[in-house]
Symmetry: C3
Subunit: 131 residues, 3 copies
Amino acid sequence: MKTLKIQSKQREEMIEITAQVEQVLRAERELKDGVCVLFTQHTTCGLTINENADPDVKSDLLLFLRKTIPQFYEGFRHFEHNSDAHIKASLVGASLTVPFADGTLLLGRWQGIYLCEFDGARERKVLLKII
Amino acid sequence: MKTLKIQSKQREEMIEITAQVEQVLRAERELKDGVCVLFTQHTTCGLTINENADPDVKSDLLLFLRKTIPQFYEGFRHFEHNSDAHIKASLVGASLTVPFADGTLLLGRWQGIYLCEFDGARERKVLLKII
Amino acid sequence: MKTLKIQSKQREEMIEITAQVEQVLRAERELKDGVCVLFTQHTTCGLTINENADPDVKSDLLLFLRKTIPQFYEGFRHFEHNSDAHIKASLVGASLTVPFADGTLLLGRWQGIYLCEFDGARERKVLLKII
């Protein structure tokens, strides 16, 4: 079990962590193929896979979520005023399972692994377990 | 493979099942560390991880989903009139992968595991497989 | 590791792949029970589990997503004009973990496994890893 630490700098941000995951995989040389399980230990960020070519994909995704799930929404009662971030976290999800072979993640050509920060800036922890 | 049975009492409800999952893990004493896979065998409920401190997080999440994905939406054709629940189920997801070590789930400080009921009240089954 | 190839025929489509997954499982006769990890190598489609009885569930889900996440949304900047598909992909998710026993997927009575195409028609690849 490894822990990745990721520092976000804004309230909402998509931070690519593919290189950090691959670095852990490379260090485990005896592993031929399997699945990499990623798990964030927080309730206001998520993990997702999306395009890592045009950065507009990231900003369009964050724009859409911010407009659709506003921080101040009629009826929200949670005293921390970050229910929007909790909702986004549940929709995006807290875990990912990514297959690998020969020590390399089997990502598609345009895929990157992202931590989706919805209530930063904060330090976030992502657990990485290889099975 | 274990099966957890969860009884919901309302149409929409977030039911914490962390204690039930941990109970299964404790019974498997020989297991040092791995991943707990949870899987719901239904199409109108989901599994998610979110805050288990302030209950307003749960009600805010359900409120938002109910307002955004209404039960009676123009154009819905499914004769059971629960397409909203099917959509919420696909967005939240049917499975979770949670790492554990020394027989303890590696949840963050504020994380709980929830069954999200979107079309209750019913008895729901969640499969639990340790790998 | 197996690769399923799926040909979509429309821009938005839910294609059931349960039979293809079960076929792979049956070919691996020595496997008693475990988890089947499915992973799509794309950023504009997703994998989900939902009802496979009434086809109106599929069309209602696609209708709702299309109305809620329109292809042309004010503020989208991605030059390929498919940010909607990227967003839907992240909300539905790129991976699934489905338990099996005695070579049979432990799906509930109404559950089917679907590739959700959000930017077709295309050929899509889904990796299948048994653990």
